[in-house]
């Protein structure tokens, strides 16, 4: 089928839309990782001594792991070894950090966001649904909107460094309580050198009136981005948090090692949505982002709920397992994921559901789409502890293959130590059905539209979990990637 191959080629030739570099004056440290760098980052941010201690402990552990060559190799991804001494660990635009309104933001930055299609102005104007955006440009949070409105409700939503100054008690209590500094190789690196991120605290009984949102963007070359997000929902609180990522086009691979910690206390509910479209590298696999992220939520209280939704279309390598620790009785964990790999992209992603409390429930729905020479793996753990009476899990992992050079893999781990638990796992792998395509074409749809429709239908279960404005973006991202694609 030459027509089909042509279309597949077009899919493979899809260029990265967000490849541009913003010229903003930057304040950066020389490359390298040592105690001095960590101390400098800490002092630039006027951090208290306990936080510096936390960083230094993490640094020592990381250097130990580096020496023991403990970099994880179990994931189904392949990349040349990273020289951790050749990375710039701090880079910030030289704009004043304290900003009252958007007008004070460097217009250059605003234009960047407009190109990204997330214009803060536009978002401000969005009627009905208000979105508060904490934009992270390289490593420093530059603008936080709707802050005063949130303050009225007692909600704290600010950059991580600001929170360290204004709410040190909260940070001290929760930082590292879900992802300890020594948790894994990349979380350890992040704990040592994290530069900024977002912090949100929803007080007791408050339902956050708007979606909280952060946009990450890696700009400067040769920098790694190490942001840290901490989200605490106190008893009975509810919040929905959106996270989106883009990076300009760069030839060398850039490292992104973030840590996200969520804490849900009794009856609280957190919904965390991600749309990730970092630069995936060109069609020969040159450049792109290494996205090595540790995301974990703890359902500490009874009946609490954490829901992860992710649409992963970017990054050269994705290594990401948003997890839920279901401690509270009757707590609920959810994971909805769409991952798309194209060209030479590799993704090893999935989740961990650790059931500790009684009657805990978890749902996993993972959809993988692999095209070009993309390699994609679902790796998930469901663990039912001995005391998790009545625990329930349902997992479904489906993969769709477009093209004969791509791969789709499934590595679920189910560990059940309680006979009262019910665990189900299902996975299927197939290509787009010829009969489905034929049917659609027979009804007058072009092959492209048919593919796009089938893929959207394939992902529907996940896309419908996204908040409205993200669902639109995610659908656009998927169809952009599929433009001209015929499977």
């Amino acid at each position: 089928m030459p027509e089909k191959n042509e279309a597949l080629k077009q899919l493979a030739n899809q260029e990265y839309q967000y490849g541009f570099v913003t010229d903003v004056e930057e304040d950066r440290l020389p490359p390298g990782l040592n105690e001095q760098v960590v101390r400098q980052i800490s002092s630039k941010k006027n951090e208290p001594a306990w936080l510096l201690d936390f960083r230094l402990k993490a640094l020592r552990r990381f250097l130990e792991m580096l020496e023991e060559k403990n970099e994880p190799t179990w994931a189904q991804v392949d990349y040349p070894s990273i020289d951790y001494q050749n990375i710039i660990y701090y880079s910030a635009p030289k704009t004043p950090v304290e900003l009252e309104s958007l007008d004070e933001v460097d217009p250059e930055l605003l234009r960047t966001y407009e190109k990204l299609g997330i214009s803060l102005e536009e978002q401000k104007r969005l009627s009905g649904v208000k979105v508060a955006v904490d934009a992270v440009f390289d490593s420093v949070s530059v603008a936080t909107t709707f802050k005063s409105e949130l303050e009225k409700k007692g909600i704290i939503f600010c950059s991580f460094s600001e929170a360290v100054e204004t709410h040190p008690d909260l940070i001290r209590e929760y930082l590292g309580s879900v992802v300890p500094y020594s948790d894994n190789f990349f979380a350890c690196l992040n704990s040592a050198v994290f530069s900024d991120g977002s912090f949100a605290y929803i007080p007791k009984g408050v339902h956050c009136p708007m979606e909280l949102s952060t946009y990450f963007r890696i700009n400067a070359s040769g920098t790694g981005q190490f942001e840290r997000t901490l989200l605490v929902a106190d008893e009975g609180a509810q919040v929905s948090y959106l996270e989106g990522c883009t990076a300009p086009m760069r030839d060398e691979n850039q490292l992104h090692a973030a840590v996200v910690e969520l804490v849900a206390l009794q009856d609280a509910s957190i919904k965390y949505s991600t749309v990730q479209n970092w630069y995936p590298g060109d069609k020969n696999g040159v450049g792109g982002i290494y996205n090595f992220v540790t995301k974990r939520g703890a359902c500490r209280g009874a009946r609490s709920k954490i829901s992860w939704t992710q649409v992963e279309t970017g990054s050269a390598i994705t290594w990401k397992y948003p997890s839920c620790i279901l401690q509270g009785d009757g707590s609920i964990g959810e994971f909805y994921s769409v991952a798309m790999t194209n060209n030479c992209q590799q993704a090893d992603t999935g989740t961990k559901m650790i059931h500790l409390g009684k009657n805990t429930k978890s749902t996993i729905v993972s959809k993988g789409i692999s095209a070009g020479r993309g390699q994609q793996s679902y790796r998930g753990l469901v663990r039912i502890g001995p005391k998790a009476e009545g625990a329930r899990n349902y997992s479904q992992c489906d993969s769709l293959l477009l093209g004969d050079e791509c791969g789709a893999h499934t590595f679920p781990y189910l560990e059940v130590k309680n006979p009262d638990a019910t665990v189900e796992h299902e996975a299927t792998t197939s290509k787009i059905g010829e009969d489905q395509l034929f049917y659609c074409r027979q009804r007058g749809l072009s092959e492209e539209d048919a593919i796009s429709m089938i893929v959207n239908g394939f992902c529907k279960e996940v896309l419908r979990e996204l908040p409205m404005e993200f669902a639109v973006e995610a659908q656009n991202l998927l169809s952009v990637s599929l433009e001209g694609a015929v499977g």
Binding site: D404, C406, T410, F411, A427
Partner: protein, 444 residues
Amino acid sequence: MTSAEKRSISAWLEASARIVDVGDEAPFLREARSQALATLSGQSLPTRRLESWKYTSLNEIAKIEWAAPRGPLQKNQELPATPLSRQAGLRAGLIDGRFVTEPETPKYQGARLVSLSETRTGELAPSGCLDVLGQVADLKRHFFTALNTALLDDGACLEIEPNAQIAEPIHLSIVDSKSQTLSCPRLALKAGAGSRATLVIEHLTFGDGPRLAAFVSEIIVEPQAELDLILVQREESESFLASNLYARLEQHGRLRVHTLTLGGRLVRNEVVSELAGQGAEVDLRGLFIGSEDRHIDHQTTIDHAVSHCTSRELYKGVLGDSSRGVFCGRIIVRPDAQKTDSQQSNPNLLLGEKAEIDTQPQLEIYADDVRCSHGSTIGRLDPEALFYLQSRAIGPESARAILTRGFAQEIVETVPKAVGHPQLESLIAGALEAATAQAFGEGP
């Protein structure tokens, strides 16, 4: 490494070096042995740090000082008779790794089951399966295969002649009789083109004391051949068994393996099947029943190397008391293996309060025109089914027993009738009774 483990391994390596020195046979065997010896030197028993041993600890084996298999070849040793072996036409046994046959083996049409040592030293006419030996097994990946090969001295050669149709099952009993001794039984099997046969392999132990067996079987299924393999593992509760089975299937070859794990202290099954010819079909079925604190580990690999092959896999676990089951089913579809059709399923019944199951159904797919699925479930008996039976005046205990038997029955159904379904069922019923005694004793 414990000191006992060090002593065991050095005893094994010494014994292996002695065998390598003899040099009385085909050079490839000598070479395989020295390769295995080289692979082993400096190694310890696999630990849980290795991904494939993540859920199975060999600490208990490491604590015991094991002797190497030794002693002169004992001829005319008596072959144990079991309900299953009575169904068989052709019989032989590997007692402590030594080939034993009935005093007067009838001349059997179409199949030849002989001793590896006698056929390679020229006492018997050379067997056609000598060229299977060392060709299918993976020394590098599996410690116990390397161990078995390093100590390779005797074994069973089963050759099914091309186009032979053998209705009666062939029976091979594998017996460990010496306490605290490692035994290395080995089987080389060639199913000739177009042939059809059934082989029952029954693992037994005689006497008390801990046993360790590293059993390796290598199988080549030639074009259009059909082979049924039934492994019945029912050792005593102090026995450790590592059974590694390697099979290569050629065009339109068919292999069905039933693994029934009913006994043993710790049983590790490794089944590796390579679909190397188009149209080949493999069907792996397993039933494992755990009671007390037994540990049963199944690792399977189905490698779709070429296109148009089919694989089916169904492993069922029933775990009582504080027993632990592990299942890792890996399906690989290579880049050119288009039109692959593969299904895997692993339902488990957890009955004991402290029972545990760790399951990993894995798919690794590098081709696009495939149909692959896997599923795994873990749970207890369906309360609605129990209620239904009780509403029909069946007591709760019997209702549970009926449902558990029904769960296990599915595996037996596909075993060829000639093997002896009533005999198998009674063996399974015994194991189920042991596994469920505690769980079902309580009543609702």
